[in-house]
């Protein structure tokens, strides 16, 4: 938290977290205004990132477990909503130099590739909560792991995407906030963070394109709406360099969390409820059939 870190800074300047290690090693005795600036204007941000299958077309229901199974050659990537989230954290870092951005992901070994990409985009540090438990991971379990990991790290801001493309629950950020007893704003489409007053003003996107303005005290949790920015595309060399960056590994079983309150009975393919029809034939035949339908319905004027 800002206040505690201020204290830490004054008593023990070299271990101040808001300054990058490079800045510290360059100047063992920072000037007074650098002290002042760093004390008030840098932040510590945690960005939660989920790895998802690149395409759900390759997924199948495993008849043995009743859950989704991934083909061996399934490609994985960063949840798109989290790309916007990481980008927004990096934009905050650009506004307030000295800000540290941690990227965190929960999952099996393969997740570390997505953390690598996050660091290639510009995250300072990668935290991998290694969760080898197969089967169903509820939003509550994932959020509990993140919350336990984040609890003692005094983040000013914890950010997640508004939802994951695969499970579409829109719960994780709000659960983390509730578990850590922090205020939270969801569907954030604009933010104005003010480290100097330890608060943040946001606009939430609500139904019909309207926006709700919310002011939160820091530390706080935000879930980010896509469209808030244009996520950067890291250069190949940056991504390659990120392969050499160490990642902090925490084993899920070493974090003490409560048991999940939901279980999954199974995944199924929804019955085709559509009354619709597929128009078949060659492309030209399909186009003619569409024409005829539009004519019959007097939609061509």
């Amino acid at each position: 938290m800002l206040s505690e870190r201020k204290l830490g800074f004054l008593t023990c300047p070299t271990s101040f977290l808001g300054l990058s290690s490079r800045a510290v090693s360059k100047r063992h005795t920072p000037s007074a205004d650098l002290w002042q600036q760093a004390k008030t204007l840098s932040m510590k941000i945690l960005v939660c990132i989920k790895q998802v299958a690149d395409s759900s077309e390759t997924l199948q229901v495993d008849e043995r477990t009743g859950l989704l199974s991934y083909e061996e050659n399934t490609a994985f990537r960063m949840n798109r909503f989290d790309e916007f989230t990481l980008e927004e954290a990096l934009l905050i870092k650009e506004r307030f130099p000295g800000t540290m951005v941690d990227a965190l992901s929960v999952g099996p070994e393969r997740v570390s590739a997505t953390l690598q990409r996050a660091m290639g985009m510009g995250a300072d540090h990668g935290i991998h909560i290694l969760n080898r438990a197969g089967g169903y991971t509820s939003p509550f379990t994932a959020a509990s792991l993140v919350a336990e990991c984040a609890r003692a790290r005094n983040y000013d801001l914890i950010m997640t995407g508004v939802m994951a493309e695969d499970t579409m629950a829109s719960q994780t950020g709000q659960l983390i906030a509730a578990l850590l007893d922090l205020p939270c704003a969801t569907s954030v489409i604009k933010e104005q963070v003010r480290p100097e007053s330890a608060d943040i003003a946001v606009e939430r996107e609500i139904e019909g394109g309207s926006r709700e303005t919310v002011q939160l005290k820091l530390p706080a949790v935000l879930t980010i709406q896509p469209g808030i920015n244009f996520p950067r595309y890291p250069s190949f060399s940056k991504v390659m360099r990120a392969r050499t960056y160490p990642q902090e590994l925490i084993r899920a079983e070493d974090l003490e969390i409560q048991e999940s309150r939901e279980s999954c009975r199974g995944v199924r393919i929804p019955e085709a409820s559509s009354q619709g029809v597929f128009i078949e034939g060659s492309p030209a035949e399909k186009a003619r059939k569409v024409m005829n339908i539009l004519h019959e319905k007097s939609l061509l004027s």
């Binding site: 499970t167 579409m168 719960q171 609500i206 019909g208 309207s210 939901e262 559509s274 128009i279």
Partner: protein, 321 residues
């Protein structure tokens, strides 16, 4: 399980009870085995809306009044609701899966030590069904606690019929104010909308599946074939910068009801589909035969639109003459 009280947190938008609130009644009766739910309505000056609920549904309606409840805020709502809900050892708490519902549900669930299941579409046999992977699959979630918080996808259930019976009782309580580290300051109405979408008889819409910004010209050409037409887009096409946000259709964009809606390269997540329910005829073009958009389309065409739209345009120009 059947003896649990079923609560509905009512939702207000621009001072009116939303349709999604009434859809929850139908859902609540399914999980409550026919029993009537109890409504909780929060606000500053909402007695009239409470009477509307009790009259339309015949349900007991509890109003929590407070100046600090004028606008929705997760912390002040959660605090006020806990006064009531923490008394219940076992209960269903139902909210719409909207910017209010999914914002509030996880907070309530943690405070109540309740299971939390969001974006639900169906209920039955002890589990709740919810679409995943944009609707390509459904997962069945079993809540394991006596208290359960649920958010229901808009449009998954029909709004309840107006009751012919007597109005439900309305009870008004004052909610105590507590200082919270978050404050809702107000709501700004959307300024940038394309009014052409509202009046259009034909809308041709682009999704992520159109592949790149250049292909928008195909969408525009197709739209231009029709008079009183407009170009629409899915959220992700707008977020990619391919189409301006004022063209966006769906929950956070506009709701449209044209005579003809042509969805091009749109996968069909509920956020988009809920904005086109009023369309009379939906034609979908997508390369993926299993895309959820084909569940709502009247006519489905599995083709690459970069090759198909030019063929369709040729056909239209021949017939049009």
């Amino acid at each position: 399980m059947e003896n649990r009280t079923v609560y509905i947190i009512a939702e207000l938008r621009k001072g009116c009870i939303t349709q999604e609130t009434y859809e929850l009644v139908s859902f609540a009766r399914v999980i409550g085995k026919g029993k009537n739910p109890v409504f909780l309505l929060l606000g500053k000056n909402v007695n009239e809306q409470a009477r509307e609920i009790s009259k339309k549904t015949g349900c007991y309606t509890l109003v929590l009044l407070g100046d600090h409840l004028e606008h929705y805020n997760a912390l002040s709502y959660a605090h006020a609701l806990m006064e009531i809900l923490q008394e219940e050892e076992a209960a269903w708490v139902c909210l719409p899966h909207t910017s209010m519902g999914y914002d509030l549900a996880p907070r309530l669930a943690v405070l109540l030590k309740a299971a939390c299941v969001t974006g639900v579409e169906s209920a039955g046999d002890g589990s709740l069904g919810r679409p995943i992977h944009s609707g390509r699959f459904m997962e069945e979630i079993v809540p394991k606690t006596p208290r359960v918080v649920v958010t229901l996808l808009p449009g998954a259930f029909r709004p309840c019929e107006e009751t012919a019976g007597p109005a439900g009782e309305v009870k008004v309580m004052r909610a105590a104010f507590t200082e919270a580290p978050s404050q809702t300051l107000g709501i700004a109405e959307s300024l940038h909308r394309d009014s052409a979408l509202k009046d259009a008889e034909v809308i041709v819409s682009a999704g992520r599946g159109i592949g790149n910004k250049e292909n928008i010209s195909l969408i525009k050409k197709l739209a231009a074939v029709f008079s009183r037409s407009a170009v629409g887009a899915s959220r992700s096409a707008c977020d990619l910068g391919w189409v301006e946000h004022k063209h966006q259709i769906g929950t956070t964009g506009q709701t449209v009801s044209p005579k003809l809606y042509i969805a091009c390269g749109i996968s069909g997540a509920f956020q988009h589909v809920s904005g086109i329910r009023g369309a009379q005829t939906i034609v979908a073009i997508n390369t993926d035969r299993h895309a959820p958009i084909f569940q709502v389309a009247h006519y489905g065409i599995v083709e690459d639109l970069t090759t198909f739209i030019p063929i369709l345009l040729d056909e239209l120009s021949v017939k049009g003459r």
